[in-house]
């Protein structure tokens, strides 16, 4: 009956809708609140850090099966799960497959790889639900959420779950969810190339010191973003591109200032350009649209 993570049970059935909303707000949590009212209308509220991001009305609910009272199902989600849920809500179903066993599952993966498919794969089973992001046919290991009765996980524990329903969701390229995804992919890839180059220039220890300083500097913002082991780890669920761009700008301003301090503006500009040029065109364009470009981060 419920669209997302049906067997997750974060709130007792008796909790009222307003109580659930208030709990999200006070705890500044992200997640989904699904509601079926007594007219049988099914709606989903997506909550980002305690605030309502968007309400989605699901079509085609039969009024004859409407409950006597409004029913609510709410799930608190980690940022990655919330991001993927948002992407799923902003995508449209393209193809449904029934997967009876692992052989068919493997065949589906091969097929997606051959098609260099981009999109979200939704897996449904009677007691589990998963969302997996694919890019150019490859499963993105950091963009997975899988929920079973045991809880949430980032590992798609498929073998034990067959048969499953696998739905291919085509991403809506104009949606904020997709634009945020492109920004995040672009900025993390850029930072990864850049930090590797920095490590070559100034060494691992100095880079780790810089990472420590930058993490300390962005701590007050409470973003789920950190620089660690020569990479930028962004787990944050941003509700729109402006908010995401502001965060990334702050992080890159910090990186730029630190690099200026150590290796000067000429070389900083040079390695910012070098690493930016390594990004795929779509991600470079997404960053460029928010003025997240090399020239913005050197003195």
């Amino acid at each position: 009956m419920w669209r997302f993570f049906a067997t997750a049970n974060h709130f007792p059935e008796s909790t009222s809708f307003h109580e659930v909303e208030a709990r999200f707000r006070t705890q500044k949590s992200s997640g989904v609140i699904e509601k079926i009212d007594n007219a049988g209308l099914h709606s989903i509220q997506l909550i980002s850090s305690g605030a309502l991001l968007k309400t989605y009305d699901l079509p085609g609910q039969p009024s004859s099966s409407a409950p006597a009272l409004t029913r609510t199902h709410a799930v608190i989600l980690e940022d990655t799960a919330a991001r993927l849920t948002w992407l799923a809500l902003e995508s449209h179903s393209a193809e449904k497959n029934s997967i009876p066993d692992k052989t068919h599952w493997d065949a589906l993966l091969v097929h997606l790889r051959a098609r260099r498919w981009n999109g979200l794969l939704e897996i449904q089973h009677e007691d589990s639900h998963g969302l997996l992001l694919f890019k150019l046919g490859s499963l993105q290991s950091d963009e997975i959420v899988f929920q079973t009765s045991a809880g949430f996980s980032k590992d798609p524990i498929i073998q034990a779950q067959f048969p499953i329903e696998a739905t291919l969701l085509e991403l809506g390229h104009d949606s904020q969810a997709y634009q945020c995804l492109m920004l995040r992919k672009g900025i993390t890839a850029w930072a990864d190339h850049l930090l590797v180059r920095c490590q070559e220039m100034i060494g691992r220890r100095m880079l780790h010191t810089i990472e420590r300083e930058l993490n300390h500097a962005i701590e007050p913002w409470n973003w789920n973003i950190a620089l660690k082991d020569d990479a930028l780890h962004d787990e944050h669920f941003f509700g729109n591109t402006q908010e995401a761009a502001q965060a990334y700008r702050e992080v890159f301003m910090g990186i730029g200032n630190q690099l200026n301090f150590f290796i000067g503006s000429n070389i900083t500009q040079r390695i910012l350009n070098e690493s930016f040029e390594l990004l795929p065109t779509e991600e470079r364009n997404a960053l460029g649209a928010q003025r997240l470009i090399p020239a913005a981060f050197t003195l």
Binding site: F262, I263, N266, I267
Partner: protein, 267 residues
């Protein structure tokens, strides 16, 4: 303080020629050991598989050869103070090998900036090294033909010309690096090379007889300037390595009062 003390000692010669010279040698040796020691300490920040390890290993090795050059210079001074110095001394070898290693460090630093993907290794550096040797040989030939080096053998002149040639190459390399690094702290150890080049250029000017064209009153200030550049070069390197070492331990903001990295407003 060390520089001021050196300049005062040099100017007033309070212990007579010989002992003042020994005290000055001791002060400069202290600065040279500090630079080499701190370069070695800074180098230990890098694992052997990291590209900067090669740069700073060569730099530190070069500086230790220069320390050996300083020590052997002091010993030669003690032995030959009242006699004629030999044509080729261990001091020269130490200095020239030191130059070669520091030049290699400079080359590796350039490769880190520009030649990330080329696999040509140190072949270009060997070519540059041969170019320096050729230039010094041509200058030695020219000196013999023009009788500038009258009374000296070809090999002695060749060794003598190697100093300014290496100075020019390393000095120009360090100058361009200074342009590239701008105000970045990574350039600071290289500033020492520029100061060395300035100091040696005064020496070369003296050796070529340039002092003959200067009024006598200008000669002591030029000597003082030479001593200033020379001692400052070691000290600049030592301080630069010390500050970079502490930055790698505690970060940039742990050493200064400048605003945090972003300087933007927090929420």
């Amino acid at each position: 303080m060390l520089i001021v003390l050196s300049l005062l000692l040099y100017h007033f010669q309070p212990f007579g020629d010989f002992w003042t010279d020994k005290v000055l040698d001791g002060l400069i040796l202290f600065a040279a050991v500090a630079a080499a020691g701190l370069a070695t300490k800074f180098r230990s920040q890098f694992h052997s598989d990291e590209p900067p390890h090669r740069v700073w290993s060569m730099f530190a090795l070069g500086l230790w050869f220069w320390v050996a050059g300083e020590v052997s210079g002091i010993i030669y001074d003690l032995i030959y103070w009242y006699a004629e110095y030999p044509d080729l001394m261990i001091t020269d070898l130490c200095w020239l090998v030191g130059y070669a290693f520091i030049g290699l460090a400079l080359y590796y630093q350039y490769r880190l900036i520009f030649g990330r993907n080329n696999k040509r290794g140190t072949r270009y550096y060997l070519a540059l090294f041969l170019l320096a040797l050729t230039a010094a040989a041509l200058l030695a030939n020219a000196a013999i033909q023009t009788e500038i080096g009258f009374g000296y053998g070809w090999f002695m002149l060749f060794i003598t010309f190697l100093y300014p040639v290496f100075d020019v190459m390393n000095g120009l390399g360090a100058l361009y690096l200074a342009y590239l690094f701008g105000r970045g702290h990574w350039i600071r150890p290289w500033w020492g090379l520029i100061l060395f080049a300035l100091s040696d250029s005064i020496n070369v000017f003296y050796w070529l007889g340039g002092y003959n064209y200067l009024p006598e009153v200008l000669q002591p200030p030029l000597d003082l300037l030479d001593l200033f550049f020379y001692s400052a070069s070691y000290l600049v390197m030592a301080i630069a390595f010390l500050s970079l070492f502490y930055m790698s331990q505690y970060g940039a903001s742990g050493l200064s009062n400048r605003p945090g990295p972003s300087g933007n407003n927090h929420p």
